[in-house]
Each structure stands twice: as C-alpha cells, then as structure tokens.
Subunit: 349 residues, 2 copies
DNA sequence: GGTAGATATTCTCATGATGAGCACAAGAAA
DNA sequence: TTTCTTGTGCTCATCATGAGAATATCTACC
C-alpha cells in the first residue's frame, strides 16, 4: 500500500508571444507519447518540495532547462487535480496535481535546445480565429456535428439543454460569439468527441474527463451534464492534439488572456519598447481573434492614456510612415482598470 | 532523508453568504493555535490522493464535516505553495500546498457543529467597507502608518516607489479607490507590519512572506520590492487575524468576488428565489463595499434583463410595498457578460 | 379622516463612451 | 504625375452612465 503522500505537483507553462501577427505558443516534443495522444506538450516539470522555494521559481527553472527561455510576466491560471488526469495513475503512478501558469514573452530565437518550438496557437484551437470572418471549420465541421449531438439527446429536455449549451458556447441561434469562452468550447468539443483527446481518453473511462477552468460561470466542475454514456464517436478530430490535458490548459489560458486584455495593459508585455499603433492593434487582434476598427482603436489607446508618442517615425511600411509609441506606465496609477478596449461587452444580442 | 513525495495538498474554502446586509464568512475555531496567530481559520483539510476523485469533492467533504454546510457554487481561487507557508515545514513537516476555493451559499443556521461560526467579513478587513464613507481606520491608522513607511524608504527612488504603491493601493494622492485591489492592499499592510500576521511571521524570516494572487497586474509573485530588511514595527494590528495565511486567502477571495460581480450574475447565488430590488442592491453593496444609486441600479438590472418581476408584492417594508423579482436565467444566453454594474470602470481620475 | 413619514417606481437630462465612416496627409510604386 | 498604401484627424449617431426631480403607495400617528 503506497504512502498517503504519493502526490506529484506538476508545473506547466503556457508561454505566449506574438510574432508576425500570429499568437505563438512555446511547445516541447515528447517522443515517448503515442501518436494518437499528440506528441506536443507544454513545458513542464515536477515541483521539488525540498528545494524549490516558490512555485514560480520551480516553473521558471523547468522552462529554462527545456526551452532556454527566460520568463518575465507570469500569472497563475488554474490547478487541475482530478483523479486519473494522468493515465499513469491507473498503473500505480502518483496522484498528479498540475498547476498551470500563463507567461507572456517577446519571441526570441530559440537556442539549440532540441525539442522546443514556437507554434501557432490557432493550430490547436482553429475555431478561435475569427480575424478573417467566421472560421470555416465552424460551419463545415463543428456546427453539423454539434447539431447531431444535440439531436441525439435522450428526450426533449436534454435536447433543449444541449442546444442551449451549444448555442451559448459557439454563438449560434441568436447568441453572440464570446471570445472569452474558450475553455467552455473546448470542454464541449471534448465531451462530444470532436477533439482527439476526448477520443483518446474515452476507452479508459468516458465521463471522467479532466476538468478545469477558473472563470467558469457556474463552477461547472467535472461531471458533464447530459453526457452520461454519450458515445464518443465523430468523424472529426479538430485541431492539433497535445499530450495529457495540455490543450485544455491552453484553452484556459487563451480565455483568461482575452479577458485580461480588456482591463489590464498586459499586451505591452508582448511588444518591444516602441511600436506603431498598427503593430499594437495587430497584436491585440491576434490574441482576441477578431478585427478591430482602426480609428477607434487608436482613439481608445491614445485617449485612454495607454501610450505616448515618441516623435520618431517608422519607415518602410509601404505607405505613410507611422509614429512610434511607447507604453505609458503612469496609466497604472491613474486608471484602475486600463485595457485595450475590445468589443462585445455592451448589451449584446 | 524524507522521500521526494513529502507533499501535502490542503484545500481551503472561503465560504460567503450575505445576511442582514452584511457579508458573512464561515470560519472555524482552531484551539491549538497560539493567541497571536489568530485562532480562526477557514474550513480546510488535506487531499487524500488515493480516495478523493476530484479536488472539489474533497473540499466539499471537509466543509461538510467541519461545518455541516453543503456547498453549491464553488470556484477555484488560487494555489499557494511558497516554502514555509506553513511554519511546521521548518520542523520537518511536509511541503504544504494550499488550494483555495471561493464558495457562495445562502446563510443557513449552523447545526450543532462545534467551532463553526458565521462572521462579518469586514471584521477581518475593516478598511474595505466604504458603505458609510471612507472608513475611519484608513484615516486614523493606515494613512499615517503608510506615510511613515514611505518616508522610511532608503533614498529618493525608493520613497517615490513606495508612495506610488501606497497611493495606488489605497486610493490616495489623486488615485481612485479600486474595490478589487483587496489582495494588493492586504499584501502591503502585511509587508509594512500593520496586520498581526506580518508581525507573527516576521521572526522566522521576514521577507519570505506567503505570496499569492491570481489577478495581480504584473505577476508580482513573492519577493516584495523594496521591503528588504524593512523592520516590521508598527503600533497597529488592523483587523482580526486568522491562522496561517488564511486572511490573505480571504483578501484574494473578496477581490475576485468583487470583480466577478461586474460581469457574471453570481450575486443570485446569495439570494433567495425571489427578492426585492432593494434586497438585491443591499447584497451587492455588502460585497462591493460601496453604496449605489438606487434608481440607476434598478435601471441596470431591469434593462439588463437580469431580473423579471413576479407580480407579487412584499409588504412590511415600512413604506410602499416592493415587487418581488426573480433571476432570469435566460440572461446567460442573451448576454455573454451580464453583471450588476458597479461604478468605477470608467475612465477614472 | 387626515397628515407625515417611508419606501418604491418612473422619468428627464447632461455627459461620456462607443461604433462607423469620411476626408485628408504623407510616403512608395508605376 | 498618377495611383496605391498606410497613417491620422475629425464628425456623427447611438448607447450607457451618473444624478436627481417627481410621483405612487403603503404605515403610523394625530
């Protein structure tokens, strides 16, 4: 009988940068994982309870070792601890508790560290990118599959419940699209069997899905309502899978980040010291997944006191040169909640 | 040499209710704690890695056992894991990781469970209640003590930094008061030595304060800037202390809750099925710690579609009877971010 | 019965934030 | 010089918000 203390704390980091107007994620390779499981993982490692002074120091150490990247802005996301989150628990492994962090950096060329790669965020969550309009994968794959799932519900009440949930998550049936509901969407796709992870985890015990989310509306916890016994069969495997529940963590991170953009000037963690307003806008758009009105965006960040001009110009943009701006740190003092305004918080519908 | 797995996961719950227009906290007695440390604690208990299926189930179990209260809405707050968070670690105890949760309930009379008590939230954080104007403790105790601390800074730069921080936290010197910055304020008071916990923890190693916060602006982590070697001496011990870092957790919870009120209809978790608009308003005010304009509040929740009238009236309010309202669940579908509007998110200053 | 006091409810009004778009400026390319 | 591209300044309608006047409907008391 193993001791009571068979616990392992795993620290993982969702490390985000924006380059060339694309949100990028730092991923590492895990050769040992079976193909279906997804061989990509978040940088991570266990806490050494004897040595590591703080959780964030431990995390930074693992990231440095695995990727060579030095973390600056770090924020705790969520702690995942459902049993059998890590399938190795079934084989006698320790209870794995995973503490996930969000880190924002400026993308730097990676050293010769084998296995670390910058990847496009939307390779993993392709339905989240609305910058070129409603993503085709939503129309072509997700909507019909969800409709089938809705209809498969047992009884009128379950069908209504499922439709409600699908509509709210994906902005169908009159409900507006909500860019921050990233985790809810992933969770739904997982339950319905539209992502490889749901399929992968199913044989061992469907319905015991890894759970999560910090900002969920009503503490939805784990047990997915109405999913009892739903056969996880669907012909689609959307987006690139990751190891364990790492893609779920990614979804949490994107949702949190999108929300935070609204009321905290975190975006500047991703930008160089000076930048044009269009660069700033494109960076926000990359994360938010939507296009913004240029003039209004400018008005917002300038009048909001978020940036100040440097007087210098940047040439070579193909048109009139743009002024270079810098972040105004004073804004933290003046405005309690200063963010780059994203649309969608208004009355809606 | 102890095994690598000497880790204990502690689950604690900040359980909130609002009764008689006061925010209430469910606390338990811990007789063993020394007097100075505060003998009140949050309901909590360790995770059993072999048995507990999910973290939330484990938490609910401990709460049920210690207080008899059944949890409904539960939301994860933050995971605290700095070394020596729990002083028993220094005596060979396991590394204690604490996962904190926020739970909202309707206050029910407690069973004969010894040791559990509903207490007023603001007994612990008296500077957070602005409903009757700027709290006297701010003027009389905090402001002067902070001013002394600012001036004590070594050098002009440190003084400026400290003043900036104090002003932002407590809304002085032109900066607006921000109701959500609860944790920042507690952290500052802790470092300055204005709360008993800072004093208590200091002898064992000042500067290694338990850290925390999920929504901190810039991942301020643990090492408090400019606090190196600051003597933790001050004549005041503000608010009622709690065991370990439980009051810090409480501060995190209040900040999170205040923020959430804005954009999620969580307030209804604390109210009965039907209520008058004034009851609703008083409940919000109790948590937000500020008074709201009655007519505008009504307009907001009604036009926002948050509530619907039932047609029934409540008598006995001393004046004209008020209509009873109920929460409109449909709002979750229609409006992605529906909250009771609190002031202060506008441009400010 | 009538009046004062208390609370509920409806409206108005000024101001500021937001969404949308026109018009012009200042460079590069043809 | 023309055309194209991007940057920048400005206007306008609409909606949200803060503040408060005015009215409605009850209880308590004379």
């Amino acid at each position: 009988m193993s001791a009571k203390s068979a616990i392992e704390i795993d620290l993982n980091a969702v490390i985000v940068a924006v380059t060339d107007e694309e949100p990028r994620l730092l991923a590492v390779h895990r050769g040992e994982e079976p193909e279906v499981a997804g061989d990509l993982a978040l940088p991570s490692g266990p806490l050494d309870p004897e040595k590591d002074r703080t959780l964030e120091l431990a995390l930074s150490g693992w990231v440095r070792g695995q990727t060579g990247v030095e973390l600056g802005y770090v924020e705790q996301l969520y702690t995942f601890g459902n049993r059998f989150r890590d399938p190795r628990e079934r084989l006698g492994g320790p209870r794995g508790i995973s503490i996930a962090y969000l880190a924002l950096v400026r993308e730097a060329p990676l050293g010769p560290t084998a296995g670390a790669r910058w990847m496009n965020w939307y390779d993993f969550l392709p339905w989240e990118d609305w910058r070129d309009g409603r993503p085709w994968v939503l129309e072509r794959e997700i909507a019909p599959a969800l409709e089938r799932w809705v209809r498969r519900g047992a009884g009128r009440a379950v069908v209504a419940q499922r439709r409600e949930r699908a509509d709210i998550c994906f902005g169908q049936g009159g409900a507006p699209w909500n860019g921050e509901r990233v985790h809810d969407r992933f969770e739904l796709l997982y339950e319905v069997g539209l992502v490889a992870e749901g399929y992968r985890d199913a044989p061992h015990g469907a319905g015991d899905a890894p759970h999560g989310e910090g900002d969920a509306p009503h503490g939805e916890g784990d047990a997915p309502q109405g999913a009892g016994g739903t056969p996880l069969v669907a012909a689609v495997r959307l987006g690139r899978p990751m190891a364990l529940d790492h893609r779920r963590i990614l979804a949490s991170a994107l949702g949190r980040l999108r929300g935070k953009l609204r009321y905290r000037p975190v975006i500047f963690e991703l930008l160089p010291g000076t930048f044009t307003l269009l660069q700033l806008q494109r960076t926000v758009e990359a994360l938010a997944g939507v296009r913004l009105h240029k003039q209004n965006f400018r008005r917002l960040v300038e009048q909001g006191g978020l940036v100040e001009g440097t007087g210098r110009l940047e040439a070579g943009t193909g048109g009139r040169p743009a002024e270079l701006f810098r972040f105004r740190r004073d804004v933290l003092r003046e405005r309690p909640a200063a963010g780059v305004g994203l649309p969608g918080l208004r009355s809606g519908a």
